[in-house]
Amino acid sequence: MAISALPPFNGFFSEWLCFQSLFSGANLGGSLGLTFLLSAGFLAFTSALAAACFVKAFGVSFLARTRSHEAEHAKEAGPAMLSGMGILALLTLVFGVFAGSISGLLAKTSLGLSSLAGSELESVFNFNNLQTPQNFSAVSAPAVFSGLLLAIGVVAAVIYFITRKNKVTANRTWDCGHDIRQGMEITATGFARSIIVIFRGLLKPTKQTSIEYHDDEMRYFPKRQSIDVGRDDVYQHFFYIPLKRVSYWLSEMAKKIQNGNVNLYILYIFATLIILLLITVR
């Protein structure tokens, strides 16, 4: 939750500060302003996509039925490991709630660095509230946290009071009458497939279906059908492979210098001598 910038946690407040700086940059006007604007837009999209990605990651791995034999008998990790993660999780909450004072502390670091001298954090931090200059916007971390807690607490109490008479029974998930099998659950690729298709211009997803028939003449009764859904790595395709090709071509060119003929070697020396003489004594 913290990393996909959801409110009570620290992710939200750091993203909030990013947004404020981008917005303050946006009204600089001109092309610079536009770039700030676009980057703010992209930040919004990325944080939302991050949320989608973590829903997928958390949902597919932790929730619903176990998908493999090993997962069936998975045991919880030892206390040491848990406490390690636990402390950090607690920290995200603590940093989230006291975001104001902590960013105040962090602001002091930028004073020391000469390179950052010009950009000291203008935001004003009074008692845990983050506020940008000319009070363009402000948010109070503890207020948000306590508000959420209060609201949920009240709701839980009221609902419990109203419905304490109802019975709660546990039963099988309803799945249009079929019995639930492992295959029913959605997989990570399935989950992300729709986003990949939307951004297909960029990510270039590949889809390859192969059908096997009972007998080849009659193409009506497919015995087995498989769809291979893949996605080649965009960076490798557009950046690293051309780079390798260019450098190998260059080294092929460089190798031609050494082609084994003594006369040519002496010619190199003679040519450099003449060129240098002509250049220097102009």
């Binding site: 996909s4 910038a5 959801l6 409110p7 909030w16 947004f19 917005f23 946006a26 009204n27 536009l34 604007l37 703010a40 837009g41 919004a44 999209f45 939302a48 949320a51 989608a52 829903v55 997928k56 949902g59 929730l63 619903a64 039925r65 509230n129 506020q131 000319q134 009070n135 363009f136 916007s137 948010v139 109070s140 948000v144 508000g147 959420l148 609201a151 607490g153 709701v155 839980a156 609902i159 109203i162 419905t163 109802n166 709660v168 029974t169 546990a170 039963n171 998930t173 309803w174 799945d175 639930i180 659950e185 959605i186 399935g190 989950f191 992300a192 729709s194 986003i195 298709v197 939307i198």
Partner: protein
């Protein structure tokens, strides 16, 4: 002290009126299809009935499935505080629009997780579609607020409302553009017509419904009510930010009463607008929705450029 008092009014207002708004929308849609339609109080009865029915929870579900309805409903209450119903008071530390957008995202986050939790195919692809739509819509949402924030030089919702009410005519075009994109986001976030059919249970089309398929009893009531509140909050935001007239009347009780009347009129107008939109537009194919949402985002960018160049 008046702050707490106003907040309680707002919360009561939101919780109370939202089912009514849904009733009105359904009624109008039915009328347009020359059907009789349900009577306006039907949503209240549904909620009351659900609250008192027994509940069946799947064996595979974890604590997330059990806990998320409470959280989602609680969020809607928290959001209720931010509504620009009474523009005069501006409590500076809560009403930030980024906070609103991200609290909504928190809601969808848990709803999607709950959908995944039950492990049925419907919940899976429902939450996948919901997350794709939410991620695309969020950009448009934040930027429609941003248009006004830049114009009003502050992101506090009350300040924005105050500014828009006496903005000069030059600001008219950017605000209209922002309004259009805001309506698109409204339809997307609340899974209304062109994005998703709220009442269907057809696997091919449903997004929001798929996730809450497994819920029953009081949890289903909570989630339904939360959905109604969400729609009401969006409508209130639209009313407060984009329909500025009659915001600041006199101070006292009398001023507030008049203003409440105007406010409910505005909400009614938005309800009608949504209903009309729903019955005129056909549902888009899923992979054409991103183009719609990208247009919303570009409209906002256009508006902001206009404002900056002013």
């Amino acid at each position: 002290m008046t702050l707490a008092f106003i907040w309680t009014i707002q919360i009561i207002l939101v919780l109370g009126l939202s089912p009514l708004l849904i009733g009105i929308i359904k009624k109008i849609k039915a009328r347009l299809q020359s059907r009789q339609g349900i009577n306006l109080l039907q949503p209240y009865r549904d909620l009351w009935k659900l609250l008192h029915k027994d509940e069946v929870i799947s064996t595979d579900a974890s604590w997330i499935f059990k806990f998320s309805p409470y959280l989602i409903f609680g969020l809607t209450i928290f959001l209720a505080i931010n509504l620009p119903v009474f523009a005069r008071l501006n409590f500076p530390y809560v009403g930030d629009f980024l906070l609103v957008a991200y609290v909504l995202a928190l809601g969808t986050f848990f709803l999607a997780l709950a959908g995944l939790d039950i492990g049925s195919a419907f919940g899976g692809f429902g939450s996948s579609r919901e997350m794709t739509l939410a991620s695309l819509a969020e950009g448009g949402l934040i930027f429609s607020f941003l248009v006004l924030a830049i114009a009003a030089k502050s992101t506090n919702i009350y300040a924005i409302a105050g500014f828009v009410s006496q903005a000069s005519v030059f600001y008219l075009l950017p605000i209209i553009l922002a309004a259009i994109s805001f309506v698109m986001c409204l339809l997307a976030e609340n899974s209304r017509y062109p994005f998703d059919n709220p009442s269907t249970h057809l696997e091919l089309t449903m997004v929001h419904e798929a996730m809450i398929l497994e819920y029953s009893g009081k949890r289903l009531a909570l989630i339904e009510w939360a959905a109604y509140n969400k729609l009401f909050i969006f409508a209130a935001l639209a009313a407060g930010l984009f329909l500025p007239f009659g915001l600041s009347f006199g101070a006292g009780i009398f001023g507030m009463l008049i203003y409440l009347a105007i406010f409910s009129l505005k909400i009614l107008f938005i309800g009608v607008l949504v209903a009309v939109l729903e019955s005129t537009l056909a549902k888009f194919r899923f992979f054409r929705l991103p183009d719609l949402l990208f247009t919303a985002f570009i409209l906002n960018i256009l508006a902001i450029v206009l404002i900056i160049s002013l």
